[in-house]
């Protein structure tokens, strides 16, 4: 970073004594634009000695996916993005037939059950009811008075969202794949933790009169940042980071303006 051309030094107008044109001897003050000595690279030293990096929404050790980081002045944007309360999208993989103590497949086994009675229909029914109860929670925690006309209009457009602290809320669930004993869900949620998603998989298993563990949690979208914008491990170098920041700048600005006004 330090090797890249830095900012040009500031210029200022100084009145310098210089020999007057056409007459020898007398010194006159002539205005000249001179670079400020305080900005000289030899005076200042390398521009970046430390970088401040802040992290966005937490992603725990067993999960993977999009993880937003802010560098330097971008940390201020991080707090704004947090206050926007945008939804995150996860693909959660589950396995029927086992129940463990930490709801994932690496925990201690508690119980094994049969699962041949489970069909895709039953799973989708349970998902519909989960969506329904969470929809109610969405409306309740958004702290809007239900009796006003604006509440009705926001509800029609689907824009009611809790704008403060709230327990984890799931805005949408969908079953992407279903091949007994495995299944995959796409979950859109707010204010959640990955352990909450694993607990959800466990509870779905219980509701279907069997048991389930979570095998995979992968975040595919965090607010405006999707997997396409994210940099895989092979691309963790300066050029790609700078390019990625440039590409996302516009999106972040429009989203912040739209939500926070």
């Amino acid at each position: 970073l330090n090797a890249a051309p830095g900012r040009p030094p500031r210029q200022r107008v100084r009145f310098l004594p210089a020999p007057a044109p056409g007459g020898g001897g007398a010194l006159e003050l002539v205005a000249a634009r001179v670079p400020v000595l305080a900005d000289h690279p030899l005076v200042l030293g390398p521009r970046f000695r430390k970088l401040k990096i802040g992290a966005g929404h937490r992603l725990d050790v067993k999960a993977s996916g999009v993880f937003v980081l802010g560098i330097g002045h971008g940390n201020k944007l991080l707090t704004d993005l947090y206050n926007c309360h945008l939804t995150k999208v996860y693909t959660v993989g589950g396995l029927f037939g086992k129940a463990t103590d930490d709801f994932s497949d690496t925990g201690n086994l508690i119980e094994k059950t049969t699962f041949d009675h489970i069909t895709r229909e039953k799973l989708e029914r349970i998902l519909a009811v989960i969506q329904g109860t969470n929809q109610k929670a969405l409306l309740m925690y958004s702290n809007i008075d239900m009796k006003t006309q604006e509440a009705y209009e926001l509800a029609v457009k689907g824009l009611i969202r809790p704008m403060g602290k709230s327990p984890p809320i799931i805005t949408a669930v969908r079953c992407i794949q279903f091949a007994l004993p495995e299944f995959q869900l796409e979950i859109h949620c707010l204010h959640e933790t990955q352990q909450y998603l694993r607990k959800l998989v466990h509870e779905i298993g219980l509701e279907l009169k069997s048991s389930a563990v979570c095998t995979q949690v992968r975040r595919i979208r965090d607010g405006v940042f999707t997997v396409d914008d994210a940099l895989p491990r092979t691309q963790w170098n300066l050029q790609s980071i700078q390019e990625a920041i440039r590409n996302c700048q516009l999106k972040v600005e429009t989203e912040l303006e739209k939500t926070l006004g």
């Binding site: 086994l109 029609v156 509701e207």
Partner: protein
């Protein structure tokens, strides 16, 4: 010295896998596990209409009487209930079985709308309030072959439809709503009289009770009515009482009607071609699209350009229809479901489908059925979710709150809602469990 044994360390991967495979497998539900059918009730309980006696008379000393049940509560029934109806303070549950007891009733019985319920304390008297679902003895000729298809309840009378023994009516008959001649100064409480109606042009397939009148729809698509007519709700061309079911003419003569609905004093009928006909009370602009008068005593076609109508539901002051595409239209007076600003309209207004859970994420959600209570509306989606809105009289909406609901709100029921019956201050739903 060589050690012949080794201390046990943390289990290796192979040991874990073997332990897992050796663990016993539990079975909670087999492959042929059937979904069970349940009944959930909620609303005002002191009339006994919810059928749970411990709400009115607590059976343990620490329990307190529960006046209002704000969220759905499970009601245990002996048989699978196929049809339910809520009246004004009482409920009827009917099952499709061939056993001797086919209909149970609970709630108010001051006009014998639940038949004669012999009191256990005094064998000569009957109960005025029935707190538990009690069997209603119907005078059937072949009790082990006839099946009850549907029940319906009005303000103080009830109708029971059977498959081959006609319609049984009981309760108040001061306006002829039971289909028999009005007897002066008849005492309706503790009456054993259950009247049977058989003279229709073809088999009756639907019975509907309004507040003090009854409507019968036959297989051929004709509609018969009897009862009070001061608002024209009998649709027979006059404003008098009718004590014998008489055929309706007007705009529905010759039209094959596939559904009738009524709860207050206004009636709606849907034909097989998707047209809507209405008659009865129009004080709340229910029929203002065709007439300025406040009562219409002959069925009139309502020229709405909303598409083919599949189902209609009449409430006390507001009406609702469901079209073939799955859109819900409301009109009339009261809390119609489009926010606090829409109080009355004579022209049907559509409720946006996004309020029923439709979105880009789940575009195949449609409203499948619509039902009306006196000032409440209920809609069932094809995914089995129940949405209610309207005046929350004594907690009848089941949302868990006591405030009125100005736009459709989900009721959390642990199961897939198959059917719902709305009353004045309580509701009954038939639910199938998920697995």
């Amino acid at each position: 010295r060589r050690m012949l044994c080794r201390a046990a360390g943390p289990p290796s991967t192979r040991q874990l896998r073997e332990a897992e495979e050796a663990a016993p497998v539990f079975q909670y539900a087999g492959k042929a596990a059937k979904r069970s059918d349940r009944v959930f009730v909620w609303g005002f309980s002191f009339s006994g209409a919810l059928g749970i006696p411990s709400f009115v008379k607590p059976d343990a000393s620490w329990k307190k009487p529960r006046r209002i049940q704000t969220t759905p509560y499970r009601l245990e029934t002996q048989e699978k209930i196929s049809s339910a109806a809520c009246g004004y303070g009482f409920t009827l549950l009917a099952s499709n079985t061939r056993d001797i007891t086919k209909v149970w009733g609970m709630g108010l019985n001051k006009d014998s709308q639940l038949g004669f319920q012999r009191s256990r304390r005094d064998q000569t008297k009957g109960y005025e309030y029935v707190l538990e679902p009690s069997p209603i003895p119907l005078p059937l000729e072949k009790p082990q072959q006839t099946r009850v298809l549907q029940v319906s309840c009005g303000r103080a009378h009830s109708l029971v439809l059977t498959d081959n023994e006609g319609v049984f009516t009981m309760g108040n008959n001061s306006y002829g709503q039971c289909g028999r001649k009005v007897v002066e100064d008849e005492i309706y409480s503790e009456s054993h009289l259950i009247h049977q109606l058989k003279e229709f042009d073809s088999r009756v397939v639907q019975v509907v009770c309004g507040q003090d009148h009854s409507l019968f729809r036959t297989k051929k698509g004709t509609v018969y009515a009897c009862g009070w007519g001061a608002d024209g709700q009998t649709g027979l061309g006059h404003y008098n009482i009718t004590s014998v079911p008489t055929k309706l003419h007007g705009d529905i003569a010759g039209v094959n009607i596939i559904q009738v609905s009524s709860y207050g004093d206004c009636c709606l009928a849907v034909s097989d071609e998707g047209d809507v006909f209405g008659w009865g009370n129009s004080e709340y602009l229910q029929l203002a699209s065709v007439t300025e008068t406040t009562q219409v005593n002959v069925p009139r076609h309502l020229p709405f350009k909303i598409g083919k109508v599949k189902e209609a539901a009449c409430g006390g002051t507001g009406n609702m229809v469901l079209t073939e595409e799955g859109n819900v239209f409301v009109w009339g007076y009261g809390i119609l479901g489009k926010g606090p600003n829409l109080i009355e309209t004579a022209v049907p207004e559509m409720i946006p489908p996004s309020l029923f859970g439709w979105s880009d994420f789940s575009p195949d959600i449609r409203v499948a059925h619509v039902r009306c209570g006196l000032s409440q509306f209920a809609a069932l989606t094809n995914k089995g979710e129940l949405f209610v809105w309207g005046k929350n009289l004594r907690g009848c909406l089941g949302t868990g709150r006591m405030e009125d609901q100005y736009f459709p709100w989900r009721v959390t029921v642990p199961g897939e809602v198959v059917d719902v019956a709305c009353g004045v201050d309580h509701m009954v739903s038939m639910v199938r469990s998920f697995t």
